[in-house]
């Protein structure tokens, strides 16, 4: 019988070992221009069970650039804790050399230069190669998809997610949970789920009318027998679906964290003989971290939603948290030693999908090509060119959003613009053409109408405070994930340590430099309203029209937001 202390030591040793050998070597090898697929995949198979985790792909089928955030502030107990560590601090924490392949994959600095050296990341055909290589070593490895899969590209929007469903099926997942999928509308979700050759999980997906599990479509958990081990995978969909996204698109469903029911499910699967309990979650990292400390008996939480990529697991008690990034940039492999009905140790590797290093899987590459072919001309049309690095991630602003805000203010003749603080959307390097596909990659959704309305200064402040609390409430269970709403034509100071109603000050109308007048009405343009019946042109058409007029775009540094308490 292994004690908890032994368990932690064994686990940490295995984890540290992997962090060191994996990451140290890549840096050196890459510097010598010898980064190979074998290096990326090198893993001494361990124990008797392998989990493969992919999440938050956001319909990115082909390789892209993706810059990680510079600003990612943690509050309360999570202040300064991973994943709220970025840049040089992140590299120091994990022993990553500046300028290395790992630095490029996991941090933001020198992004454009490193991107030119190391190339694009992701691509479902490359992910397939990695998954198949793991299966070659462990044929019965479990492949688990954390959701946000059927959303985020032109082809996905046009086919209502069918392109992703078709290609993902070739990767042969064993189970999946959900978030943006529901913005396809509940009829479409049920139609797809009805034909999926794998489990659709969510213990927190409830029938709204009867307030009971929506088990006719979504199972709470599924059992797998792998390596002689009885494994229960419990699904946890995004808890705040009808709040963060338009609830009218899936009115039959209710979500929530439902922590008590999670505990009941863990107890139920343990009673049924589960030797390993895995939670496939779309909670967001800090919510999962809190849940891991309160729900007893989960061995592994595969986290999603907040798009964090961590090269080592985070341990909460005896629960292992894995964070596998977004947009197809990473695949996590977790090998586990499960004996005598419990987890004895693990070995983990976050595998970055360097598109130029990993050979595409031919069958999946052909499937991707087949999905894209009907839209080829539309996808590849060049709309303009960028002189700036265009990226989205960051708590308060990103250059892609600054460009979208400029487009809204110009095309919709508005004084102020608002853009949702989503975390999906690939990056573009300075000098790159902007294609229609690139614009859809950062805007496509089923409720993309760009509204134009009037709001008083008081209301603008109220909106900032409301969204700010979704991000900076010190209790993770009250956080919805995502980032701060982006604003154009408006400057502010935020103190992240203050309570709701007191975080935002010095609201400035940038057009005049004067303070925002609480009583005055401002013309505000925005998009992605959760309200039914929102009217206006689609945001991707607004952005395309603006970029076309500009020809070449350049995004100035955004210095209108001041942050206190970070």
């Amino acid at each position: 019988m292994i004690s908890r202390r032994d368990f932690l030591q064994v686990s940490m040793a295995a984890s540290a070992l992997y962090g060191a050998s994996g990451f140290g070597n890549w840096a050196r090898l890459a510097a010598q221009q010898r980064l190979t697929q074998d290096d990326l995949l090198k893993f001494d198979t361990y124990g008797n069970v392998s989990l493969i985790h992919i999440t938050d792909i956001h319909a990115q089928m082909v390789p892209i650039y993706f810059r990680e955030p510079e600003i990612n502030i943690g509050v309360g107990e999570n202040r300064g804790q991973v994943p709220h560590v970025t840049g040089a601090d992140f590299r120091r924490l994990y022993g990553i050399e500046d300028g290395s392949a790992s630095a490029y994959a996991l941090t933001y600095d020198d992004f454009a230069a490193l991107a030119r050296a190391y190339g694009r990341v992701g691509g479902l055909d490359r992910m397939a190669t990695v998954i198949n290589a793991i299966r070659a070593e462990r044929p019965d490895a479990l492949l688990l998809d954390g959701g946000d899969t059927w959303h985020g590209s032109l082809t996905c929007l046009r086919t209502q997610g069918q392109d992703m469903v078709n290609v993902m099926n070739k990767l042969r997942p064993d189970a999946m949970t959900f978030h943006w999928e529901f913005t396809l509308g509940s009829d479409r979700v049920r139609e797809i789920v009805g034909g999926l050759p794998f489990a659709a999980l969510g213990q927190n997906i409830f029938d709204k009318e009867w307030d009971e599990p929506a088990s006719d479509t979504f199972e709470s958990y599924k059992f797998f027998e792998r390596g002689g081990v009885r494994i229960a995978v419990i699904g946890q969909a995004f808890p705040y679906m009808p709040i963060a996204n338009p609830g009218w698109m899936f009115p039959e469903y209710s979500f929530g964290i439902r922590e008590q029911r999670m505990q009941e499910m863990v107890d139920e699967v343990r009673a049924k003989g589960a030797e390993l309990v895995v939670c496939l979650s779309h909670n967001g990292f800090d919510v999962d971290k809190k849940m891991a400390g309160r729900v007893k008996g989960i061995d592994v939480i595969l986290t999603g939603h907040t798009h964090d990529a961590l090269p080592e697991p985070v341990l909460v008690g005896e629960t292992v948290l894995i964070a596998s990034g977004s947009n197809g940039k990473f695949v996590s492999r977790v090998d586990l030693d499960v004996r005598d009905g419990r987890m004895m140790g693990f070995r983990h590797k976050l595998i970055p999908i360097f598109s130029d290093v990993i050979e595409p899987d031919k069958e999946v590459a052909a499937a991707i090509e087949a999905e894209r072919a009907p839209f080829r001309e539309e996808l590849e049309e060049v709309v303009g060119r960028t002189e700036s690095l265009l990226y989205r991630r960051g708590n308060f602003a990103g250059t892609w959003d600054d460009l979208i805000l400029a487009a809204l203010m110009s095309e919709r003749d508005a004084e102020i613009a608002m853009s949702p603080g989503v975390r999906w959307g690939p990056s573009l390097l300075p000098g790159q053409d902007i294609t229609r596909e690139d614009i859809y990659n950062v805007t496509s959704m089923t409720y993309g109408q760009a509204y134009r309305t009037e709001m008083t200064g008081e209301r603008i402040k109220l909106i900032l405070e409301d969204v700010g609390d979704n991000l900076f409430n010190p209790d993770p269970y009250y956080q919805q994930g995502g980032d701060m709403v982006r604003v154009g034509g408006l400057g502010f100071t935020i103190d992240v340590t203050k309570p709701q109603g007191e975080r935002f000050s010095d609201l400035t109308f940038l057009a005049t430099g004067e303070p925002i007048d609480p009583a005055r009405s401002y013309v505000v343009a925005g998009w992605a309203s959760v309200n039914q019946g929102t009217e206006g042109p689609q945001i991707w058409d607004v952005v395309e029209s603006y970029i076309r007029k500009q020809g070449t775009v350049s995004v100035p540094k955004n210095d209108s937001i001041k942050v206190i308490g970070a």
């Binding site: 943006w180 939603h305 995502g482 109603g501």
Partner: protein, 138 residues
């Protein structure tokens, strides 16, 4: 009913205004607890209040209360203009003292459940329920 853009925007902002005011425990709420307990202090005990952390719709928030052995359970929305939500009495023939209902919340506030036990003592628990406009998923 056809909803125009103007209506939709107006509704959205109406919801905003409601959502933005974190409400404090009202004097009426405290008075209601005192009236229920007859001035006695309610302690902690085996009482579970299940409520969403963030309401999906502030107009209809599902909650449930379980307090094994209770003869009476009172539910209060401390930030509502009228805090009293419901009062449930359990006779000797009742099953377990467990109730579910839905209620309207005027804004982010504490919901309190107080149970009167068979021995005349009182226990209570509270949950903070946030009412928000949301709109920015990751």
């Amino acid at each position: 009913m056809k909803i125009t853009r103007r209506d939709a925007v107006a509704m959205g902002l109406g919801a905003t205004m409601v959502a933005m005011l974190p409400l404090r425990v009202s004097a009426a709420g405290e008075e209601a607890v005192m009236a229920f307990t007859g001035g006695a202090e309610a302690g902690e005990g085996d009482i579970t209040l299940t409520a969403p952390e963030i309401a999906e719709n502030g107009n209809t928030v599902p909650i449930s209360v379980a307090a094994p052995g209770a003869v009476e359970i009172m539910v209060l929305a401390t930030g509502n203009p009228s805090p009293e939500v419901a009062n449930f009495k359990f006779g000797t023939a009742s099953g377990g003292a467990e109730v579910s209902t839905r209620m309207r919340l005027a804004g982010t506030q504490d919901v309190i459940a107080v149970a009167k036990m068979a021995d005349g003592s009182f226990i209570k628990t509270a949950r903070n329920v946030k009412v928000t406009i949301g709109g920015c998923g990751g």
